[in-house]
Symmetry: C2
DNA sequence: TTCATTTTTAATCATTTGATTAAAAAACTT
DNA sequence: AAGTTTTTTAATCAAATGATTAAAAATGAA
């Protein structure tokens, strides 16, 4: 029997004619709650009920606005990625800075940024793994111009003989590894080295200076 | 009504009098399946049914042998940790090797090891975060002697004026960061740098030589 | 106000999932 | 072989969980 598909009321089709509620909208509340929980615990370990409670709304509202847990997650993930990339792109595209200055800016920016969003890196590393999807594809597209720019700079610096020719792969692995990895491995590192929370922060402050120095040392070390 | 608590038959209390089944026991099959899935997808995203299927046994058997998903996970996790640590400890405790040689051995050992267990590092970084539990405590205890040994070596090398005095925190963060991080961030790195699977392996082979060189350069760079 | 539309809720559904049970099958002892 | 214990299974349970529904409340337009 042809069950006339009950057309669901389209959610959140804002009447273009009138301005938004302006204040902290319900949709935004849900997004923020979802971001907080998804980022901290990952997709599978996060319950939609927890998100609803964190947002202070009814569970049905979540589905009303976002249709499904997956959809909501995709949005949060994309948002997280963009934020993560933005940190680097600003410094990277600053044409007035020298290569060394750029590195220093990137390192500082990332350390500051992750200090305020400590769960982000691991979230991204996790979710990028299980997702060969369009999401990741989209991210790649957004990163492309940045990559091109950095590669060019690397090549120029290499040609001027200032530094060793180093493959971009190694360069980026080193830069991000030295900067981001301590945050990702923080619980492990603190256990193994017996470092307190306060000390950890101090060490990361130190690294703002040290990592650029080390990167430089690496690129001037003789093969 | 006092329902006389149905005493559950104690699982897997092997009669000590007779040797084990010897071949690949059911218990072992379950362990291996659980390890594979837990390590790849984490605790929350892994279903006990999937483990049972992967092991080719009935779901009830899993609970018969291990009582609960949590218990099984704890066992797998401890096992994974030990394996991860073992890689380093062998190289580290080799008294015949010089400091530089040790570093080279550690880097090579880790790169080889993780190449064959690519999901392990991220698993550990994930599970150590949400687990301030006795599990992590136990790990710490097992790592302690290694840490002490490495610290002593670092201090000695520093006193001999061969290298800059470098805090153990920075040293370990650098060593592991440069060695392990590329694997953890592999999908991201490959996307950003446009590197193929084959090329990635080649790069990691290169790093067996390069990372020790870089570590050396870092420790000889002037403050 | 009245009416239409949007937003929110309580209640419920359907499926998934960890766990248990009772009984069958297999292994071992005598 | 008979009896005992261990191992394995099919069936089922109970709780958790993502999603939907129908109706109420709020909002804005006329």
């Amino acid at each position: 029997m042809a069950k006339a598909a009950r057309k669901k009321r389209p959610p959140t089709k804002k009447k273009a004619s009138r301005p938004l509620p302006a204040d902290i909208s319900t949709e935004e509340k849900i997004m923020q709650a979802a971001k907080k929980l998804f980022t901290k615990k990952g997709f599978a370990a996060t319950r939609t009920r927890d998100i609803a409670e964190e947002a202070g709304i009814n569970l049905a509202l979540l589905n009303y606005y976002f249709r499904s847990k997956e959809k909501l997650f995709d949005i949060v993930m994309l948002d997280n990625f963009r934020q993560f990339i933005k940190g680097v792109s600003v410094s990277l595209l600053d044409e007035t800075a020298s290569f060394d200055e750029k590195i220093k800016k990137i390192v500082t920016a990332y350390i500051d940024f992750i200090t305020h969003h400590p769960d982000l890196p691991l979230f991204i590393l996790n979710e990028i793994r299980g997702n060969p999807s369009r999401l990741v594809q989209q991210i790649s597209a957004e990163v492309a111009p940045l990559r091109a720019h950095m590669f060019r700079q690397l090549q120029e610096a290499g040609k001027q003989g200032k530094i060793n020719p180093i493959d971009p792969f190694h360069f980026i692995a080193n830069l991000i590894g030295l900067t981001v990895f301590p945050f990702v491995a923080r619980p492990l590192l603190q256990r193994v080295t017996g470092v307190s929370d306060q000390q950890f922060q101090a060490f990361m402050e130190e690294r703002k200076e040290l990592v650029p120095l080390w990167i430089s040392a690496i690129m001037h070390s003789k093969k």
